[in-house]
Symmetry: C2
Subunit: 270 residues, 2 copies
């Protein structure tokens, strides 16, 4: 057993990160994955930076029990506030969901006018805005928080008049800004992609952070020589700090397939 | 100083309980109140019974530091799952938000057909349904969870097409049941009362649990001889396990007046 066979650790505040697992499995089917959903304390989006950092450290420590070779912070709020801190604490590669989306948006934009949507915490952290602007002074960034998108996605109301009306209300300020690229800065938002695309119009390129993240994880593991070299399908395990109502049903919508191997996190291990 | 001068302790998972504080202040203006909002772990509505019980015990222990004379569990989810447990643990009077609303609904209904709306956890706990039915076999109860109502209230979208469309979608099954009384089984819902009333129609009586709770607190304190006998206005203090984005602004909408005396809960005290 070399480090190549060790699992990838993924954590999120809840089930949003399953959209990242979905893309990881698609791109890297032979990797083992251990997912931690901090469903007892979800959501992180309305909590303070210090609390988010504390929770993110606890989540990482839990995943390290599984001899993981890499940590994926599959939560925009944690990536905004805690990624730098985690990198100073832990000795293994750590990758968040923000940089992959930022990189892709900068590749796609032609007019250098980029929109970003996310939770209150992500938008107010300015994490995306700072990283996008750092790429060059010519870039203009327009940000909008969309607090109802997460409960809409979890409720499964992914299309229809209510969802489109809410999307129209949130996205109207961005539509007036002549952006050509919009970053979905929350792991829940890929579920609402078609409603968002409908409101924004076909000419706007949407960046799905989960897709970009998976590509970056693949590249990072290659460069470090830690990608799985097995031929068999990887094993995926899901650990939850609490089992919320409807997790399985909603989770399957996020993951795009059956949710098996779901375990509770034991109190004394966390 | 007698026990009469001691404060009333109130806890909620977040800011919803402020609608209860609003009614308590209105009815009992000379009482001191200590409010604990567990904003670091909000919401409780999607968590498991054991987790909700654990959090509720921690919240009660924190409030007991203030020599409170009574605990108000101003959270439907906690009242559903943890009230009985709290009563077995703590030696002071404890009152939840469910029984006052249930009592009032039973007084109001003429056709014995009662609707109840709340979070997933409250509805699935069957706490309201069991208590309503226990009052007499002739009572028929129709329950509906409305997960988007809480984020709508927190976003401040309390009227308009989106809110009414969402209310229509959730309440349609209840409208078909010929109920004459509807219990608002979540402390956030009083903010949406006018939209709910518009959808349900004028003939349906809405029961606001916060109002009924305040009446029951008053009666309970009188019967126990612990009501304040001062003539001066009470002091209200708010403690939060985390300071979420927008708490003050949103909290003031719930409380119906300026939010002053807001303090963080110290890590080592919780």
């Amino acid at each position: 057993m070399t480090i190549r066979s060790n699992p990838i650790g993924v954590f999120d505040s809840g089930m949003g990160g399953l959209t990242c697992v979905r893309q990881l499995v698609k791109l890297l089917p032979t990797e083992d994955i251990v997912y931690l959903g901090d469903t007892a304390r979800v959501p992180y989006g309305n909590k303070s930076p210090n609390t988010i950092i504390k929770f993110s450290i606890q989540n990482s420590l839990y995943l390290l029990r599984f001899k993981i070779k890499l940590i994926v912070v599959a939560c925009n709020t944690s990536s905004s506030f805690a990624l730098d801190k985690l990198k100073t604490i832990f000795g293994i590669p750590i990758i968040g969901v923000i940089e992959p989306g930022v990189k892709r948006a900068l590749e796609l934009t032609k007019n250098k006018r980029i929109g970003i949507i996310g939770t209150n915490a992500t938008i107010n952290s300015l994490a995306y805005q700072k990283k996008l602007i750092a790429a060059g002074s010519a870039v203009k960034v327009f940000a909008q928080s969309c607090p109802l998108f997460v409960p809409l996605a979890e409720e499964g109301w992914i299309r229809g008049r209510i969802t489109e009306d809410i999307a129209k209300k949130y996205l109207a300020p961005l539509k007036n800004k002549n952006i050509d690229t919009l970053v979905l800065g929350c792991t829940h938002y890929p579920l609402l992609k078609s409603a968002i695309a409908k409101v924004m119009g076909r000419s706007i390129r949407l960046v799905d952070s989960a897709e970009e993240l998976a590509l970056d994880v693949k590249a990072l593991m290659r460069s470090k020589g830690i990608a799985s070299d097995r031929k068999i399908k990887g094993k995926i395990r899901f650990f939850l700090t609490d089992e919320p109502y409807k997790f399985k049903k909603t989770g399957e919508r996020f993951l795009g397939r059956k949710l098996e191997s779901v375990y509770p996190v034991k109190e004394n291990e966390f």
